[in-house]
Symmetry: D3
């Protein structure tokens, strides 16, 4: 099967990081990773999301022509998720959504760690909308720009992440950590190792959950809300 | 003061209908009505909304340069509402949002009547997100395309609306009717007269509520979530 | 149009302060400010509210005879709001309700600052009932009697307000401040200036929202719950 | 112990019916049944409740002087319940509240049957406020005035009640019936017998639950919200 | 009447402590206190609950044969509560459930104090399920094993309880304390005395509430969910 | 990897049907399907669930010794799910839970079809607890015993299922169907074909989601609530 991974921002470096994470968890699925191409350097807030939305759904439309079986939107705020579902035949997930679903299955309460304060309320609203108001015990920011997270081999970044994660997990009384930014994808294995609790990267688990939905013969319902437009 | 009214779809006829409704309720405010210009004929579903979003926020950016004091997004699904807030200094409302707020103040429970079935779940989700899960007793569709509503002088349309409204109000036990489509704006006075209960047109009340917020010296908070991007 | 503003407590000084705030935001509307006359010096808790309730609805009944177009209940706990709606033809709002509606439109999350600890749970319950459980991030008390707020020209009061407001806004991560007491009405302009975020005084915005509802031709639904008694 | 039962309306006939129900379930407790004395013939809607509220809390104040140990507010909309709690040392319950608590313990979902349509939204809002939003599956009206229920020995009334109750229980899929009007108190034994499911009369169970709270040494917390006024 | 009290764990000492508390509040009811007999020393977490569940419902089945009128499950996590209801004719309550119901009637917000951290999320989920999400302001652990609470005459235990209770009540802004462990039952009178607010022991109040339900002629609905199996 | 599938009831025929469904979607995973062995013929209600719970967690304990990597509880009411999580190192899911998660990703609202009326409230409560209160639009029963579903090759059963499914989907306005009984597992492909919308069998998708969690290196958090008992 073929999975199109759409990075709503236009950082090619980040798109490659993301694709690598996807490939690290499966060899059953071809990964076709693309930027949305809407001209947004990184999605930091509602405005960036509004600008990037058309790019995301256009990459889905293009993917349909190319025979893609499923779509992963690789930004933790799940940019244009429902618009993408309307345009796709196969299943569509966002990485924020995928990570929250997985987290709710592995512990009694999770914390989300995102890059910037501006994303906190977006992720809180998404958690409520997906149904995880009672499971999501807190959303916290690292207080650093998304693109700084690309330098994933900087040991100081990992140290900072570990300390911040420990603080917010203790504060919230959480049992699982959700990485609330695609830029953190490469850190998942090391963070999980360091923290001793499940650390969820939506890129990895989203890839596998979409693969599962396709293998089970499932697809996006076209009965009404996601029926093809006009 | 100057209010920019942004019609997310590109129907000039509908934009003029909308502007007329705005002007019918106030002469304190200059109405600057524009199409989003994103190439969407009418917003019917999530995909159309994703395509139109960038146009909406760009019309806000443009409005800021022109000195607009407030913004009304004239589609009942409140396309790109939060992105628009991030880009504006003055207050921003969507007509769906404005109508639901007003409806919650005038009766114990309201019903929303929209054009197409595809919008039902969008409006339900918006109602929940604004806080009106307990106040919104039902969202129902007329089952007709948005653009057909432009022919507002057809008496058969009004008859159909009245009959459908009475049915759904009785079914839901509602006390107020919300018009869930900008295309219904011209029908508000006749519908309210015919039904004998408050009928809320978000175009009219949204115009006046934005005027109120500006006259009270209020504006969009720039403290965090709606702080200007980059 | 004519707006009757009903102060549930019997402080004439506070009623005048309130009327002045109403008049400061509009000259379209005649302000008829009255005390409830139920013999309560200030509304501090549920018991005071129960005593004052009959006075509030009787002032509405009286206002109907005098041709009032709308009613504003000028106590942040919105004393007898629904009883007043049942007795009125025009729209009725409470200042707590008005302020929360406005606050939910201007930022992602608001904090309410009230006078006394006894009001905190009342305002929390009202926030839930109006639909703002997710928008209201905290209700906090100044820990001072309502009537002490009448001395609005004391610079120490403003200083105290500013410091307390900054503390609770930071603690809650709020983006908008709601003044949860009519006695704070005169402080709104200075507080908003000092805090750099929208500060909502329900007296001011309630006056304008009621004016909006009347100008839009809207009224309290008489279909069922608010139908005239007996 | 001594229980003061306060009928918010001023029907002496109904007060006696209520007292009889109280006495039918206990002989451990002295029943002191009084009318609120606020001049309301029957509580049918929000306005009546606002008028009656002061009477209810004054009867509590009087009861404190007389050494009453607990208070039952004998109207299904629990008029001035929280104001009464603030004035009382002992526990206070409303019959609507008492019945909903009991109902939630005896089946998976209950239906409330009240006298008039005007009370439906009041009882729905109370159910939400007490925490029974998920347990209360429907509130329905008999569509008859409260005072007509006084003629409790009319067999046609019982027949009408049984048929209406069966209809709404089936419609809601409920497992327990709550009587949503004090005027129905005498019908409880016959209705429970006829319907074959638990039928809850808040007068009876409220009397016993208050007796339980007093026997357990419990009382209304005076820590903050219900601390004595001024 | 005869009340069977089922201690889900197999500590005979604790069962006797529990029975003593039951008897301390009533002499109207015969107390038949038994261990579940499922081989669990103390219920600390979900696994223990799963192991104990069959024992609890079997003790109910046995009680039916013995003519018991009601059942109290004497573990704060209300082990197998719904299964027990299905097997019983009379009413069934858990002590956690009973205590939360009572607490919601006596103050605006309660705190639960339990023995171990592992029970916190269980009690939070139960509070949500019973409807007390808004009333339960916090669940906190003493961080000590359940069985250590048996040594109820150790004055150090009471001191520790008082200090911990004061801390969490202040932190949550609660007005009532719920004892979230059967092992705390003997401490209720002293704790209530020391704290000056209502302290709810579900053993005591559960006994009396069940007695109330039986005296009112009520029973578990057999209409559907709790209909007898097979 | 090795997945232990635990059928809470003791029907060997059904266990084999379930194992077949698991194997039909993956050949990456060894399927070890067992009955709970608690002596329950089929789980129909809360009592059966309480009896079966110990068997389910004991099969997990046994599985741990055998090196199982994950556990699927193959009853739609997810018997003893949290107790199983506490005992397992790897991830654990119930088929009801798995199906609801998948359904929420594929359409705006789903309907659950279960075998017996007694399961309806159990599944509704589970939906709320998992977070799907807004996504689950209805739970309906086929009104037939679970074990009758074993005769999966009877064409009349399929016809009956299709007609009932169409009715409830239309009634709820749902876009996805969840099979709320393990006994329906073999019908999924034919039902999905006939209905033209996604039909979710928790056995199939649960198998694949657990495989995903394990392949992503995730496991049950042992930080607190699911820490190993004593």
């Amino acid at each position: 099967m073929k999975l199109r991974v759409i990075n709503p921002n236009d950082s090619q470096t980040m798109t490659e990081m993301i694709a690598e994470s996807c490939r690290s968890v499966t060899d059953l699925t071809e990964i076709d990773a693309v930027c949305a191409g809407a001209g947004v350097a990184s999605i930091e807030g509602f405005y960036d999301g509004a600008i990037a939305a058309a790019g995301v759904v256009q990459r889905v439309a293009e993917g349909e022509a190319l025979g893609c079986d499923a779509y992963l939107i690789a930004c933790a705020d799940d940019t244009a998720l429902q618009g993408a579902r309307e345009r796709a035949n196969g299943p569509v997930m966002g990485i924020g959504e995928a990570a929250m679903h997985a987290a709710s299955l592995l512990g009694c309460g999770f914390t989300i760690l995102t890059a910037q304060q501006k994303s906190v309320r977006i992720l809180e609203a998404n958690a409520r909308s997906y149904g995880f108001a009672d499971h999501c015990l807190g959303v916290h920011a690292l207080q650093m720009p998304v693109l700084d997270l690309e330098h994933s081999d900087d040991p100081k970044l990992l140290d900072k992440l570990i300390r911040r994660a420990e603080t917010v997990i203790n504060q919230d009384g959480s049992e699982v950590l959700v990485l609330g930014c695609a830029g953190l994808t490469t850190q998942q294995p090391m963070l999980q190792q360091a923290l001793g609790i499940p650390v969820i990267d939506g890129v990895r688990i989203g890839t596998l959950m979409l693969e599962s939905l396709v293998r089970a013969g499932l697809y996006t319902s076209k009965r009404c809300s996601y029926a093809y437009a006009g």
